[in-house]
Structures are given as structure tokens and as C-alpha cells.
Amino acid sequence: MSYAEQMARLTARKIEQTRVKQDRLGARDEDDYGLVLPPESFKADLPVRDATGQFSGPRAWAANFRWLMEHHPLYIDPDDALAGRWMFMLSRMRLGYQLSRSNFAFDYSHLEPLQKKYDITTGIGKDAHFAPDYQIGLDLGWGGLLEKVRAARLKFGGRAEARPSPAGEPGRVAACCDRAEDAAYAIELMDAEEQAILGVQAWTRRLGEAAADRTMTEEDPVRRANLAEMARICLKLVDQPPETLREVVQWIAIFNMASRTYNRDGAGGQLDELLRPYYERDLAAGRITDEDAEFYCFCLLLNDPHYYQIGGPAADGTDQTSRMSYIILEAANKLKSSCNLTIRVWDGMDRALYRRGVEILLANRLGFPRFSGDKALVEGFMKNGYSAELARRRIAVGCNWMSLPGLEYTLNDVVKINIAKVFEVAFAESDSWEELESNYRKHFAAAVKVTAEGIDFHLDHQYLNEPELMLNLLSHGPIEKGKDVSHGGAMYYNMAIDGAGLAVVADSFGAIEQRVVDEKSLSFAEVKDAVASNFEGEAGARVRKLMDSAGRYGAGGTRADAWAVKLTEILNGEIAGHTTPHGFKLIPGWFTWADTIRFGKTVGATPNGRKAGEPISHGANPLPGFRRDGALTAMATAIASVQPGYGNTAPWQLEVDIGLADDEGAVDKLMALMDGHFALGGTLVNINVVDAEKILAAHKDPSKFPDLVVRVTGFTAYFNSLSPAFRQLVVKRLIREAV
């Protein structure tokens, strides 16, 4: 039995699992996550809920999490190097869960009117979205983490050992405001961490035992040996830290699956550097070959599409590309599934890794790897007052986002201002072109203010609502300080605020300036009337035709292009270098995630010809049809021109039909295109190289293409898992231009 055969079987099972997921869960405009459905007979009967089905506070989360891990169905695949798959998100098991609005045990109704007015995704009650430092766990193992937590609890005045049985309570909503309460919370948090670890250990032990059980019935000797090794590793990892490469990837997978189960956390790390020492030791000792290493990495990537970075500079500015980087990349190449691997592109890099990444992107057409632009990210993050060493350690480990593993709390990608909504408010209030900009500035400032107040509210209360029991363990500070990472536990707080809807607003401003101010072919009042009527009637249609055909953002040299830059200046003017009222640093970005449809529904017609309720634009991207010829370089230039430039990203999301992907020059040209974008200040490039005919056919009948993976935004997903409306957006974004 060869690894190729094992990989093929594992991939086929993954596709089948995805089909089952789609059948049972329906369309989801989200990451694939690697989640597997539990048996239908399984009932997740969480022990702690209040009368409304909610639970909050460290004890409740810990008790429920421990219960879930102790009862979690066991998944063992004799072809896999790794034991386990994850099946639940505890954070979504509270009643009334919505992706767009988290359950929160504290009243923030005083903020809600303005949050609604500007359609703000507040981040209040949002979890994860910052990166762990796996090295902490790899050094200590679960046993070492347990000792650390218990020692900390003793230091805070608590007991040395666990209570015999975990007791939860539905919610603890008292404010924590003086030192005695701080200490009480620290003890409670350590209790909760202890319970969480015990839960993970129980699950790990059960996985080991299940693998051992399977050896009794497995007839194939290779699989039987594999199961025996899987069992040995899991049983070892219950307490001990990993020592070999296979043990390390199993430990990382266990943490990932547990952290997913807790609250969907999907941040990875600098995977090549995490694995390299173990790989090199195993190789030197003759324990493994490169083929073994590649298979272990394949299984880790298959287990869960966590976000990992490879390549890029080390903290001291040397290139950290290694043989391990290539092994991971080749494992990803063989993984014909959803994957979120990012190659960090920088001046001092091993260009061969970059080239190989582009070759894989072109050949596989699965939307990965992604490419992140080191120069602008490092220089940008340093503008917030951080050193170059620290800036280099801030890596691409999320959909759009960067994080300092184990050091930083950010609310990345979960705080967004729908600027199309802000524009709508400003436009409705304006009677002339002259008033429009100042009204937009005024309302945008108000939107940022209430967003920042919401961030403070979250930071004030989240530790009592939903402490980060898993990510605390792999952060530098929470256990040492007895504080949740969201509440003083982290080393740095760099709170993200992203603008969404840039192209809609830039095109709206641009179209008005072009048609009303420059050409005088329409009056401001005519535009207002047409927008108010949703471009109904003959007059509305005439106005729409003119506004829709005005020069767009992305075309190059248009009024809308200038407005996109100005909107970025306005974004920066209110966010960059600013803090929340409580003094937490803010960092701006442009990103919409998969919320283009949801955001669009709240916004009436806009002067760029967009009708009420239609989706808003994606991230920093121009709207489809922004330019006919030269769209690729124009887009690369335009998106570089709107980079906020403070270390967070404004990704370039590119869907391109490269009919000529086989062209000998395609790799060089795509690299040149990205090099140019990065030289101009670009931060992250997500590319879907697609076969237009295939994607159009799949849009008509997704079931015919069960293995078609596309990069939806920062994440990849199976095309047939997306809703029809979202599939339509992906199709519309397609640029048919030869590279």
C-alpha cells in the first residue's frame, strides 16, 4: 500500500463527507473547516444551560466543553496518520446563535441604535480570530499545561488540585472590578482551564483507545500497524509533549480540533518552522523519510483547513524557508481539497518556493496557496510603534488577517463598518454635492466612534461571557496573569476595524462627481430622486444607465479611483494611530469576508447604479466590469492604491480564467503581477485560477462537480457547499483575461 493510494482514499472520503454535510446542513457560505458530522443518533446534551438555553462564564463553558470532549464521537480512519475529526462548535450550540450577531450575556442596547444605523458588525461577543503560539503546547504537552494551570491557580490563592467533579453554573455576570475580584476570577479561570484540559485529555485518551480497538479488527497489516502507532501516539500525548514529527502533527491536530470544537478558532502558525526541528531530528535518526513527512503534513492539512504560513523572514530578517517548507507545499499540492496555506513573499526569499507555489496554484486550480506581501505588512505594522523584529513575526494565519502568535488579541475579521450604509445615511442627508463629502466624513467618524465603544464593551465583558479557554493556553500571559486573553491576558492589543463596501461607495462618489459636477449631464437632485426610487421608471432607468457607465474604481485615472484613495485616507484618518476610548490601539483594513450579500441587503439603491438590496463590493476589489482590457494590472494597481498600510490587509481577490495556464510564461507573469502589486504596497493576494466553462457548468449543477474547490475570500470551500446567491457572486467576479 503506497501513500498515494492512502491519500486518494482519504481525499475520496473527504469529498463524500462534504456531500453528506451539504445534504444535511444545506448551503453554507463559510469555510469548509474540516468538520465531520456526528452520527445522527448522537445527542449533545450539554450539562449547563440557563432557562433560555444560553450559557456564559468560565465555569459554564468549561463544564460544557469538558462534557463535549468526554462524549465526543470518535473518528478513526485506518488510512490516516492522525486520529480524530471534530464535529461540533460549542459556541454555536447556544440557542439562537447567529453568525452575524453573537450571543452576549451583557446588555449593550445603548450602542445598538448607532450600530444598526451604520450596519456595523460589532465584534461584541466574537471569539478567536487571533493566533496561538503552538510552541507553548509542543514544549509542555497537555500534562505540562495542566501543571502550569494548577501552579498558577495556587499562586492566585486557589487549590492545588481539581475539584472532584466539575460543576458549572449558567452564567456569572457580576463585574470584576477590584483586586479581590481579580484574584477570584483568576482562580475561576484556572479552574475552567483545568476542566478544558481534562476534557481534551479524556478525548485524546479515548481516541488512542479507539485506535487500539480497531487494530483488533483490521486485517490489513499496514493499516493495523498504522492504527497501533496512532494509538501509541494518542495515549502518549494525553500527558507528554510530542517528540517526533508524527507526534507533533497529531498534537497540533488535537489542539486544532479541540479549539474548533470550543469556538471555531482556525488560526494556525508558521508551520514550516514549527515542524522543522522535529523533522530534522527524525530524519537524522533515520526514523522517517521525506515521503513520510509529506504524508504526515498531508494528513494535517486534510484534518482541518487551518491557516498556515510558510516561508518569509524570521524575526532577525533571515529567510526561514527550509526543506520543511517545500514538504508542506508538496503535501498541499497532493491535497485536492480545501486548504489555506499562505506563502510569505519578500525580497530576501527563496524564489523557488514562491515559483513552486504559483505552479501549484495554476496546475491545481484549487485557490491555494495564497501569497502575502511582507514589505508593506512589516513596514505598516511598524507604524503602530512596533519593532521590525516583532513585525516580521506577525504572520498570515487568518482569512484576511495577520497575527503575532501567542502575543496579540485583535478581533481580526469580526469588526466591520459597512461604508455603503454610512454613505447611504450621508447621501440621504445631503442636498448638494458640496455637502456630501462632509456628511460622509461626519457619519463615518460617528460609525468609528460607536465601533470603538463596542470594542471596549467587548473587552470589558467578554471574559465573563466566553473566555478563550483553548487559546489562553497557547498565549503568553493569560495563565501567568490569571486573566483571559480578551481582558488583559495578552501582551498586545491591536484591534482591527475593517471597512466594507469600498467600490460601491467610491463608484457612487465618482459617478456623481463625473456626471453631476464635471459633465453636468445630471443634477444632484435627479440622482437623489432616482436613487430614492430605486431607479424605477423611465427617468430612473436613464439616470441609472449614466451612473452605471461612469468611470469605475479600478479602471485607472477615474474620479472613482481618486475617491477610493480618498476613502482610504478617511478610513485611516479615523482609525490608524487612534485608540478606543479605553486606549486600545486600532488598525484599519478593507475586507468584507463572505458578507457581501448580507451587507447589501441592508443598503438601499446607491448612486453607482446598484439597486436596493444587491450585494456590496468585496473587500478592496473593484466591482465586476470595472475595466475591459488590462483588467489584471489595473486591478493590481488599484487595490495597492487603497491599502491602509498599518499592518492589516486589504486583500486582492482575483478570479481569473487563465485559458492559457499551460502557457510557458504564465507562472512568470503571475509572479510578476504579484511582485508588482506587492511593490506598490499590496498585502495579500487570494487567487482563484478557474476554468470558466467548468465553473459556469458547476453553477448550473453543482452536484456534477463535487471536488471543485474555490477560494471564496480568505477561505476556500467546495463550490457545491455555497449558496446559489454566493456562487453567482463568484461567477460574476471572474475576469477572462490571459495571463
Binding site: G557, L632, T633, M671, A672, D675, G676, A679, L680, V739
Partner: protein, 233 residues
Amino acid sequence: MKDGPGIRTSVFLKGCPLRCAWCHNPESQAAEIQRAVTTGEVCGRVMSVDAVMGEVLRDAVFYRTSGGGVTFTGGEPMLQFDFLKTLCAAARAAGVHVAVDTSGYAPWERFAELLPLVDLFLYDLKCMDPARHAELTGVPNELILGNLRRLDAAGAKFWIRCPLVPGLNDSDSDLAALRAFTSALRNMEKLEICPYHPLGLEKCATFGLIPRYAEKALPTSADLARWRQALPC
């Protein structure tokens, strides 16, 4: 991005003295600004050298990262010679790699004047047989072949581009003649086959023109293989 090395901006200059049967840019044949009969869309605009260069330089960074530049094409760019020459000089002054995509059907003096301003000529060879050439393109090929020999002798860099159309100019003898002619050229950097594409048919309909060659199918892979085998590309 296909007209020459690297990432390039193609500047289309309207007007062409040839009327190739398979023309895939029929909207560039007339020198005048045209309006599409079906969509009303306007084809062509009057631009200053500064306006063209403004557009061209917008992508300067990509020329550097890719080894690309600007390609002046058409139509036949030599028809607007003074404008072309000024553009070439402006691009050269801005440090941008300059390519001129030409049918070769222009007085030699124009090529001679452009030589110091152009980094690369993309030079079409459509058919070696004089009578057949005239039949297919509307003009004889002596001037074209003569200019190419002189460019070669002058040490200019050039790529030969052969638009090949099944049944029109791809017989074994056509290909053999092309091979014989091009193998005598000392400075040819590359020979590119440009397979027939029916894109021009749609454009003819848009602009109310009647195509002389109305094949809707792309060349077959067998055609492509035969062409590649017969020519030094």
C-alpha cells in the same frame, strides 16, 4: 499580455493598409473612429501622446517585475508614423521597453527612423507566395519581405509572428517556404505561431462588416501539431 515579452500594455493605432481575410481586429482597419452598428459602442478615440503615456506608465511597475513594456500595434501603427515615432521616443525616455507590432507594409525609411527607438519588432509573415499574399491580404509581399531583410541586416531585434489559418496559408509548401525564409534570418529571436481565432467574426457583425473568411471553428490540435513541427518555433 500576449504581445511581446512580459506584462505589456498594447496601444492599438487605428488604420491598416491590409485587408486580411481572417482579420481578428476588423475594427482597427479603418483609420476613422467607428460606431458599432449593433451596440452603438464607439471604437477609437483621439488621444495625445501625454494621454497615451499616462495610461502606459500606470503599469510601469509591472514592466519592471516582468521584463515587459509597451507594444504599439493596430491596425498598422506605421500608418500614424509621426505619432508612433513620438510615442516610441517618449516611452524610451521613460525607460519603458518598446515593441512595435507591424505588418511590415510601410516604406523602409520609416523603419530606419524607428530603429534607434524600438527594442523589439513583432513582424508578421502571412504568406510567402506573392500572388497568394496579395489575394489573402490585399497587398503584395515584396515590400514586407524586403523590409524584414533590411531590419535583419541592421541588427534589429525581432520576433516573427505567423497567423496561420487552416486551408488558407498553411499548406506544406506554405510552411516550407516560411521555414526557408526565416531560417536565413540571422537576428530572429523567436517565431510565434498565431493560430486563427474566430473572434473577428463577432466583431465584423458588430461593425457591420462582411468577413471574407467565416470559419467558426478553431484550428484542430492536429493542425497545431503540424504547424509546430514544420516551423522553427
